[in-house]
Point group: C2
Chain length 325, copies 2
DNA sequence: GTGAAAGCGCTAACAG
DNA sequence: CTGTTAGCGCTTTCAC
């Protein structure tokens, strides 16, 4: 790898001059500039980012911590982030936390050791003690937080929407699948759905489930033995919804005639189900993009209008609800 | 952030000594060692990886380039890689290439500028000119390549398996969905399936499709207008398979009675379909893990037994094929 | 056993 | 307009 010295020698100038023309800082005579450019070309010189980072105490790296890239909701977000950052010349250094505080801490530490300039993280860490001493900008993604910038979608609206739609579509005995209560966003939509339903005369059941494929299976098995007559499901995410849908179909129930189900997220495979899953869409990609945008702004010391950016959510009606006209 | 100087001062020793005890290199009196450890603890000292990287000309970063993390096949692999690397103390710096040479090049360059010690990449770049001048170890993932270490699964076996199974299950008019021919792995399984079928008297159709959700839709619409009597589908991946399955169901075809379909990959949502998708499984997570393991070995200058690691593939029978006993 | 000092590749004063 | 130099935080000879 050619260094700046090589370029300087090749161009017959000093390293300072090379640095100047490369960074467009300070003056440089047109001729020297050209000579430098030529040398850079010739030697295929690429500045060593590590050296830069060491001196400037800031890199072109941003850290991303997600619970689990294997959960189909996150890749979409990650892609949004990556696309935006890539355009801005930043690179992503990435880790899966499994919602585990220790791993989060570990990643955060090593990211910091690598001079990341910013952090995007999806976490439930409630006492944000981790972030309080943080010297770099951070933005929370898909999670609510206190004083930190955050981007998430309107959980209340989502929960309400799901409940109202099932109501409007004539469900009489609704089962709400509640996700892990530690995940604030998931809990909020649950609360919101409940609050809509409790003022009505429909029967309401609550069942818990994890967000994973495995957890969903367990829940799906359980729901129909516990509530065989339930005719409406509000699931905490699409995986759970899809699993319940499958189970219902396997039992010979007609969907949406006998039972309606609404998912959450609008993960891409939901459109591939048969019947395709009706669900509450979170604009995951845009959320990722926005988080990246906000982070860059903070890195550039630009003022933020709002600390929290909340995206509206929308109902995607497909085949698991009884469309009304 | 505390630096090594701060620690040295706190412990009343020189930076050299601190460095020695931290790295376990060279001697250190038990007492000084303890003093240093105490100072490290007290100051919460974490070595600056950037400075280390600059001096040693190698970091704890490995680059990962994948076509698109949004494609459900890749997160599984990525997770395998990340889990392994994380345990070994390495961090991942990541980019989506969209199979685009220019982006690959760009990522590779910036990764190199950041002193990555290794590279894992899923690419079709045929003339591996990019890699020839590479000074760091690299391993190809899910892609065949020449002289470079690579891990992938047995495409020939996969294609053959799919064809044989449809044959054994009595399909008479099989449509093979061929993915992009530029993707060597995908093309190979296609070839293999064809070669099994051409020696038989079943009718065979070929149809092209992209690997994406969008491309799959287009193909799924097309297949039944072109070949309304096809009774067996060998798809190039699970997304295409699931989309065709859905389309078939929507047309009132019975699955697997009227038409059987076999996917490829065994992506997680396939188990959620109804009927659940029969498919050829690639051990994505393990492939990721293995790629990481090989990379680490190369980084540590250990000798590799084999350049290419090929994983066997297996048929996961679910509801879209007619099980025989 | 331990410290002084050089140097990894770069940028930013500061002189000239 | 351009060059010299110090120094970012660390590791590693090389003396002592």
């Amino acid at each position: 790898m050619a260094t700046i010295r090589d370029v300087a020698k090749e161009a017959g100038v000093s390293v300072a001059t090379v640095s100047r023309v490369i960074n467009g800082s300070g003056y440089a005579h047109e001729d020297t500039r050209k000579a430098v450019i030529a040398a850079v070309e010739k030697l295929q010189y690429k500045p060593n980012e590590v050296a830069r980072s060491l001196y400037k105490r800031k890199s072109k790296l941003v850290g991303l911590i997600l619970p689990d890239i294997t959960n189909p909701f996150f890749p979409e977000m990650a892609r949004g982030i990556e696309d935006y950052l890539q355009r801005e010349g930043y690179r992503l250094i990435f880790g899966n936390s499994d919602e585990n505080r220790k791993k989060e801490r570990e990643y955060l530490d090593t990211f910091l050791q690598n001079n990341v300039v910013g952090l995007i993280i999806s976490t439930n860490e409630q006492d944000h003690t981790i972030f309080d001493n943080l010297t770099i900008p951070a933005v929370l993604l898909d999670r609510t937080a206190g004083h930190l910038p955050a981007v998430y979608s309107d959980q209340q609206q989502g929960g309400r929407l799901a409940a109202e739609i099932l109501l409007a579509r004539g469900a009489k005995e609704i089962t709400i699948i509640r996700g892990p209560v530690e995940i604030k966003t998931v809990y909020e939509r649950y609360l919101s759905a409940v609050s809509v339903l409790e003022d009505t005369d429909v029967k309401v059941h609550i069942l818990d489930s994890a967000l994973s494929y495995q957890g969903a299976r367990k829940c799906a098995k359980e729901v129909f033995v516990k509530y065989p007559d339930t005719d409406g499901i509000i699931a905490c995410n699409d995986i759970v919804a899809a699993t319940i849908l499958q189970e219902a179909l396997a039992m010979g129930k007609r969907v949406p005639e006998d039972i309606q189900v609404i998912g959450y997220d609008n993960v891409s495979f939901t459109a591939l189900l048969h019947p395709a899953l009706s669900t509450i869409q979170q604009p995951a990609y845009e959320m990722g993009t926005k988080a990246a945008e906000i982070l860059i702004k903070k890195i550039n010391q630009e003022k933020l209008e709002e600390i929290h950016t909340v995206f509206p959510v929308s109902f995607i009606e497909r085949g698991t609800t009884r469309e009304v006209e």
